[in-house]
Amino acid sequence: MLSIILALFLGILILVLAVMAVQNKNIVVAIIAAGAVSLFASILYLVLAAPDVAMTEAAIGSGLSTIIFFYVLNKIKRQNG
């Protein structure tokens, strides 16, 4: 029962952060929100007893891809002005 409540809470949090990532005008905030979606998704996978997937999601989704987005953002900013 407790894990279902936790899973529901994490699911709602992920939805809120995902909407924030799409709607926010500030790109830095949007990238961080997208990274946080992955971070909470990895906790959700752990709650749902899939530690393998959780590890991949935490390392790639919230670690590497966020950094890659920031590198690309930096590059685009330099080219545009």
């Binding site: 590890m55 991949t56 390392a59 590497l64 590198y71 590059k75 330099r78």
Partner: protein, 232 residues
């Protein structure tokens, strides 16, 4: 306004389709035939304490090879398009990295590299495996890139590690045809004692190779992007 209402209609349509699926789903209480075979015979056939690993590396090893190939292709394409000539990146202005990031990276990077190696060496015993370990190692190295942007790191070493581990992975698979019952069969080495580090035949070796390959590929992608920041 018309566009927004169109999006709204599409969303309602998607919700109707998914609601159908959701209503029709009532969970299965027992495993299917193949899954039941993997779950019941996996331990004696493969000898890996982590059943996910026995499916990923042994029963469905070909899929893992395909995944690694796709990752290799994407890393190669990114490296191809982001190639920079290192002529005038000496005079670029670097932002000052904060003391906290610098100190934390010195503590964390060795631990992250060690943990990544632990995850892929113990892939057949504990959760995780080559892909996860490689991703953790790549995250550690990327943290190092961020904390010390002045430090140069060559692509040569990364490329050598990646190529050697990829070729050895395929050669081990072919050795499975010659010395055991099929491509990527893990019984080339003896299965060993269940639950120890040197068990499950060839799985630890394959996972070390996959970990090195994935780690070097992801590090290569991040390194290409980092070097591309040099262009004014």
């Amino acid at each position: 306004m018309v566009k927004n209402s169109f999006i709204f209609l599409v969303l309602i349509g998607l919700a109707a389709i998914l609601l159908n699926l959701f209503a029709g789903f009532n969970g299965s209480t027992e495993l299917g035939t193949i899954a039941a075979h993997y779950a019941s015979k996996g331990i004696e056939e493969v000898g890996s304490a982590n059943l996910v690993t026995s499916v990923v590396v042994s029963y469905r090893g070909l899929d893992t090879l395909g995944e690694v190939t796709i990752l290799f292709l994407s890393a190669a394409i990114i490296g191809f398009f982001l190639k920079v000539d290192n002529t005038d990146n000496k005079n670029r202005q670097l932002k000052y990295t904060s003391e906290i990031l610098n100190t934390a990276s010195q503590v964390l990077v060795p631990i992250m590299l060690l943990f990544g190696a632990y995850v892929f060496i113990n892939g057949h015993l504990s959760p995780g495996g080559g892909f996860q370990g490689g991703a953790i190692i790549a995250s550690g190295l990327v943290l190092m890139f961020i904390a010390q942007p002045k430090k140069e790191m060559g692509h040569k070493m990364i490329n050598i590690v990646e190529s050697v581990s990829g070729v050895s992975f395929v050669l081990l698979g072919v050795a499975g045809i010659l010395f055991a019952s099929g491509f990527l069969d893990n019984k080339i080495l003896s299965l060993g004692k269940f639950g120890t580090l040197f068990s499950a035949g060839i799985i630890p070796i394959i996972y070390i190779l996959v970990g090195l390959k994935v780690g070097s590929e992801l590090t290569g992608i991040a390194l290409s992007l980092k070097e591309n920041q040099n262009e004014a």
